[in-house]
Each structure stands twice: as structure tokens, then as C-alpha cells.
Subunit: 453 residues, 2 copies
């Protein structure tokens, strides 16, 4: 069945309901560049179908198209998942937990990929993605928070990261509006920020400029195969989208899409949504806040991420994030908003004076071992790039380049081996010996080695 | 100049930008009633021009049209002022302050007018306005709050109001989810609620059904006169709207509109905006909250107003309100949202589980003596109905009937004499003896007698 309902790329990150329905695919807007090849006609398979246009899927689509592949990118509401809530911290140090060495190495590699990626993306799109490399100030409130802070500083330094203790006067120099209930501080030189919504806009613009991509605003319903190989998906209107390779980058929905292959074939990709709420505030210029703040307040984590000021000097601040093991529900709970404001105003009491612009709640796609799923699925023609939990923005460049390497005949970098999507596949087992934990996806490999199929 | 850009009535309470421009007036949709007279052609003066379609202006317009007058109602965004933020408490007891006897009598008269008004409005519009007469439970937190609560109960009882102390078990019976930090309670039998947004929708529908009214979505720019008598207004596009009588019900904007008559003629109508923020939450059915709660938490007032459940059992809760002497700014501050949530969850901790639907901030039009401005302005052809501070919803029926009485040859009820708009006019004064306080509108009559002009 030919794909219909597709449209040329748009830089609008939010879906316009109904706007894309029943229009025929047309050629992407020509960029101010040498003539690009036409996108494939609907009846021709694309080189790559990327399912999911969050920051990860959009980054894969752009890098694949920039590498010369024809791309179809499928999403009913591009960028309206976890990307829309994300604060955009690039925090390889602060996001690393004791004992999670594979994750720590992966976060560092992901952070290293960002500066070049941001520069190329801005050059390709003309959009400033808001990369700020002024580091992060860690703040602690009570005695337990101070203990955790000092442990973190020691761990960062042992790992060779440029983290240093600050006395409160030094902290006030870096973050002048820190409040009197903050009792300890440190500076993390490795942890920066980028604006995820701006990055997503840039990705769609850069993708459009390649002239090799089609964005289809539709939801994938199931994966289709021919002779055991994946050949694309069918969307929720019954339209087929065909490609030589299919990449599932659909966040939590990746699990159900993979399962649509049927129990005998489907790869086991255990993802659940971990719901998080972020707030967007608007600050007046007098509230100088030149760097990212991450605080521990009575054991609860909270962050305050200031964006670049607009021309009038006002700027946006992202406060986050709650962590709730609830069903994927985009309606923020009042208790979450309250808790974020309560803890954030311990760090910066003057946040009270900021305008509350927006409360956003989305689910983070999360695996049992907190490592992402990046690479071959084990089913011919099907790749996976999902499950980045709190770090989808951090990981998008590394993931995109790794997936495009696989699509163009290369291999995954070694640092991504622990993220092999096949690690949750049940091990071969004797007959009549059920392995219910593994079958339910509760077993998690933490040693970094993918499980044997 | 003939009025253009007007349109027939709409029940949409929010403005659709540009939707009403450049359309010619047409006949209002015929109600299922005997044929009504045509609305006046643009070139004919209406009997009444009401400037401002908040709950007060819309109520005046409906009652005037129902009394047989032709009406033009002018507002760029009907119902999007204080009406949009209001919780809709009809609280003659709780809104009365010691020593404010004129206000207390006015609040009681206003509350008495509501049941018949609501019944007529629902009959005329087919819209349920959400009048709930289950009373209000007062709650106190600390020792100071308890003292205030007990003083309030004594004052209500001295005024003959049906307020009774509750022990905490009785309070839990009326409001099962009240939290453990509440230490005293009372039931106020006189204080109820209505849904202001539903009431506003009902008013526009009922007005439409009269067939005698035209709603013009435009902003009044200045009042126009012929030989010293007001004959209407000119809107911000330069179009004239003419009427035999003009009623300013434009909230804070009333002051500037009156001043547009020029220093020699203009009535002094000192209104300022007192900004308030309200939150709208959505509760699941398990959170039983059958009555309005008003709390004092460390001296701060907070209320929790549950609406009627929808068919699925979920219902809206309004939490309010901040009181800020800041410029009229519709952008809510994070500190206000935080304070409302902090205090409301002392009353009902389970509010944490509710969805945060909406944060709304609007200015309450407020006079120096906190009494409204209702009646003749002192300039021929010009009446005023504004300045209802926290009680615009409570006062709308009484105010509407009083203004329509004046428009149809009657007089103001005695209880509204203290609200005479002429009370702020400077007293006659000897030459060369300036009276700067009075001229600046800072002098406030509190004895209930209007000042002599």
C-alpha cells in the first residue's frame, strides 16, 4: 500500500491536528544548496524509516539523510514526548551513580559528542541550540545533602572530572541569588546544558535542508515483515511506510511496536515510562543566574536551568524534575508542581518573582538496567534507539552517529556495547523449565555484556 | 460615525482575535420564543450601551434587554477579566470585616438576590450556573488562626448569621479529607458558591435569547458627549457606538474611560487593580469534597472550592487567591502558585493528587474604601457599575437590577447608597486652597454617605 498522508518537513515541533491528513507527499522545500535528490516516491521504500521524531529519532534521521540515505520520519506529534519536557542538562558527572560504570562511560562519550554536533547542527539549520558550557553548581541544604555532595565531589575527582568544592562565597560569585538555606556547594566543570526544544527545531530544519527526507505525521501501529525481514510499518490509518531498514526510536511505544512482530519473533525490549514534570519560568534581567544549579534538598534532587537571555534581557528557567512510577499521563499533579517549587526556592528564593509559564509532564522511556537500547534488534532490518531515561538529550548525538554507522555498514562504538538491545532476550533454556522473571523483562544485565540469544 | 465591526451575540466567552472585525451587524439568532424586535441598526442609538462584558456588565445587559431595552454590549474579550479568575464564592459572612457595616449589609443583600437570579438565568439560558448552597466550612491551622476563627464565629452570630462551631470530628464529616494540621473548624450556613465561567456563558446565551442585544468585540477608547450629555463611546478602531444611556462596567479601565471626558467634566472614579491568582485542579471521584473550604494558615487566607462533578465523577476545584498590589499583569508569579498550593494542602493534603489544570491571574477592580461604584456618575447619560473588588460575582445580580432600575426610571435600593459613584468627587473648596488628598482620590468615605458635589 502506498504511503499517503505524508507531507514535506515542517519546522513546527508540535503537531497541528488534522493539518497533515489527506495531503499527498510533495518534494521537500529546496534548501539554499546544490540540488538534492528527490525524496522517494511513496511507493518506493526509503533507505531508512525512523519511527519516532523525538530528539533521538530526529537526530538519527538528520544524520542518516546527511550521510546520503533517503529517510522517512514518522511521528504524530514530533518532539512532543520526553523531548518537550526535558531540561537539556548534559551532565555526565551528575547523572552518574556509584557502581554504574558502564553508564558513566557512556554519559562521558555522549557529552564529548555534543560540541561538534551542536556546531554542525547550527551550521546546517541556522538555529542556535543554546549550548552553554559554563558548568554546573551543585548545592546542598541539610547535613545529609552535604554528605552526598562531598561523596559526589570525591567520586568525580577520582574519575578525573574537573569538579571542585566551593565555599559559599565562591558559590555566591557564580550564582549570586543562591539562598541562605544552602550550606555547601561545588562546581562541576563537565556538566553543561542545551535547549532541547531549540535543538529539536534545528534538527527538523536541518533534516528538511538535506532534501532527502519526508516527515509523516502519523502514529506507527505495527511492524511489517517479508520473509522474516522487517520492511517498514503500518500506521494507525492502515497506511504502509516501507524502508530497507527500520529504526524504532519511539520511546515507550517501542516495546509494543516490537511486540507487534509476534511472540515467536519479537525482540524483548522492556521499556516503561517514568513520569517527570518540569516547570518553565520567565525571569527578569535583575535575577542574574549565569549557570545551571543542581541541588539536594532533604535528599530530593532539584535543578534550575537558566537559558540564554532574549533581546529584552528576560530569560527562561527550567525547574525539574519529578520522578513518578505512574502510568504515562501528561497531566501534571499539583503535588509535583508544589514539590518542585518548594525545593527550587530553597536554592534560589527569588524564583518566587518569576512568571510561571508552563508545566509539562512526560514519560521517560526507561529500561530495567537504566541503560538505553541502541543497535540491532536481532530481527533483520530492525534497529532500536530508545530507553534513554533521563538522558535522551545527552545521548542523542552519540546514538545518532552510532545508528547511522550501523546503517552504512559500520559497527557500534565499544562504549555502546552495554546498550545492545538484545541483552534482555531470554537465554536459551532447557525444555519445561520456565524462566518467568526473564520472560517478564524483570531480569537486567548490569555487567555490560549483552545476553546470548 | 456608524458602528461597524459589531456582530450578533456569541456564547463564546473568550475572544477570537479578529473574528468579529469587518462583519456587519445582523439579526441575533432567533430564540425559541415569540418574535423579538430587531436589534437597533448601527446608525440608531441603542437604549443602553454597556461597556465591559464581565459578569457585572453582562448581567446588566441581560437584565436591561429582558426589561425591554435595546442593548449594545462592548468588550474585546467578554468574560476574560476578573470573571475568568473568580472562584465564585457567595460569602456575605466570610467576606465581611469588623467595622465594615455598609459592606456587610451590601454583601447580604447581594447574596439574597442570587437564588432567584440563578433560577431565572438558568431558565432563560438553559445553562446550569453551578449554584451550590451547602455552605462553607471554615478551618484554622495555628493558635492565631484559631483566635481569628473564633472571633469570626462570634461576629457572624452577633449579626444573626447561621454560623456554628464544629469539632474536628464534625468537620471531618462535612469535609472528609481535611488534613491533620487543621485544629479548629466552623460551618457558615450563609456562604455558598456559583461557577462564574458557567454564569458568564449563561448570561451571554440569555442575552442572545432576548433578541434585543448586540455584542461588539471591541475596546472602548473614550466617552463621547453632545452638549454635556454622554451619547456613547468611540472604540479603539475609531468607530462610534451610540446610546441614550451608557454604563461603564469596564473594571479598572472604567477610571480612564471616565477621565476621557476631560478634567472639567470627568467624574472621579478611583479604581486600581488588586491582582489575584487562582488555580484550577481536577479531582478524581475518590477525593470527596462536598463543600467550600476557607482556611486560615498562619494568618494567610486560602480557599478550596469544589465544583459539581462531571458525568465521570471527576470535578474541578478552584484554589485561591493571592492578593498583590502590583500592576495589572496576567502572568502568574511562581511564588503565588507556590503559596496557594502550600496553604491549600494544609487544608486538604490530598490536593497533591489532583491534576493542575490552569493558573489564572487577573486584577480585581478596587476602590479606596472597598465599596463598589454603582449608580449615576453625575454626568448626564453616564452610569457606573464597577469596583467590586473580591465580590463581583456576589454583587452581579443586585448591581444589575439596581442599574436597570435607574435605566427604567426607578431609584437605587437604600443598601446601595454607600456605593454611590459620586462619593469620591472633591468637595467644593475655597479658591487657592488645594485639597491634594481628595484630588488624588485617596480620601475615602467610610460613613456610607455620598459626598456632595
Amino acid at each position: 500500500m502506498p504511503a499517503i498522508g505524508s507531507r514535506t518537513l515542517s519546522t513546527t515541533p508540535r503537531a497541528v491536528p488534522g493539518a497533515s491528513r489527506n495531503t499527498r507527499p510533495t518534494r521537500a522545500t529546496a534548501p539554499a544548496k546544490p540540488p538534492a535528490p528527490r525524496p522517494p516516491r511513496a511507493a518506493e521504500p526509503a533507505d531508512v524509516l525512523v519511527v519516532g521524531a523525538g530528539i533521538v529519532g530526529a537526530a538519527i534521521a538528520w544524520r542518516a539523510a546527511a550521510a546520503g540515505l533517503t529517510v522517512t520520519l514518522l511521528d504524530p506529534e514530533p518532539g512532543d514526548g520526553a523531548t518537550h519536557a526535558a531540561a537539556g542538562m548534559l551532565a555526565p558527572a551528575a547523572e552518574s551513580t556509584p557502581g554504574e560504570d558502564a553508564a558513566a562511560a557512556l554519559h562521558r562519550a555522549a557529552a564529548d559528542a555534543w560540541p561538534a554536533f551542536a556546531a554542525e547542527l547550527t551550521a546546517a539549520s541556522g538555529v542556535d541550540v543554546g549550548l552553554r558550557t559554563s558548568g554546573t553548581v551543585l548545592l546542598a541544604h541539610d547535613s545529609g545533602d552535604r554528605r552526598t555532595l562531598h561523596d559526589d565531589v570525591a567520586r568525580h575527582r577520582a574519575a578525573g572530572l574537573p569538579t571542585v568544592d566551593l565555599d559559599l562565597e565562591e558559590a555566591a560569585g557564580l550564582a549570586p541569588f543562591v539562598g541562605p538555606l544552602v550550606t555547601a556547594a561545588a562546581h562541576v566543570g563537565s556538566d553543561h546544558q542545551v535547549d532541547p526544544r531549540a535543538t529539536h527545531r534545528a534538527l527538523l530544519a536541518a533534516l528538511d535542508a538535506t532534501g532527502r527526507a519526508t516527515l509523516v505525521r502519523a502514529s506507527a501501529d505495527r511492524v511489517t515483515t517479508v520473509q522474516g525481514a522487517v520492511v517498514g510499518v503500518v500506521d494507525d490509518a492502515g497506511r504502509a511506510h516501507r524502508a530497507h531498514r527500520t529504526v524504532l526510536a519511539a520511546g515507550v511505544a517501542t516495546t509494543a511496536l516490537a511486540a507487534s512482530l509476534g511472540a515467536a519473533t519479537a525482540p524483548l525490549l522492556p521499556l516503561r515510562g517514568v513520569v517527570g514534570q518540569t516547570l518553565r519560568l520567565q525571569a527578569d534581567p535583575w535575577l542574574r543566574l549565569p549557570t545551571v544549579l543542581r541541588g539536594l534538598v532533604q535528599g530530593r534532587e532539584v535543578y534550575v536551568v537558566p537559558r540564554e537571555p532574549a533581546e529584552d534581557g528576560r530569560y527562561e528557567i527550567v525547574v525539574g524534575a519529578t520522578t513518578e512510577e505512574t502510568p504515562d499521563d501528561r497531566r501534571p499533579r499539583a503535588g509535583g508542581t508544589f514539590a518542585l517549587l518548594r525545593d527550587a526556592r530553597v536554592l534560589v528564593p527569588a524564583l518566587d518573582e518569576c512568571v510561571l509559564l508552563d508545566v509539562t509532564q512526560r514519560a521517560r522511556p526507561t529500561t530495567p538496567d537504566l541503560l538505553p537500547l541502541v543497535g540491532e534488534s536481532g530481527v533483520p532490518g530492525l534497529l532500536v534507539a530508545a530507553g534513554h531515561h533521563r538522558n535522551g538529550v545527552l545521548h542523542a548525538p552519540l546514538t545518532a552517529d552510532a545508528v547511522v554507522a550501523l546503517l552504512t555498514g559500520g559497527t557500534l562504538p565499544a562504549v555502546l556495547v552495554p546498550a545492545d538491545p538484545r541483552r534482555f532476550a531470554p537465554a536459551p533454556r532447557p525444555r519445561r523449565r520456565p524462566a518467568p522473571l526473564a520472560a517478564a523483562g524483570l531480569w537486567a544485565s548490569r555487567d555490560g555484556a549483552p545476553a546470548q540469544r
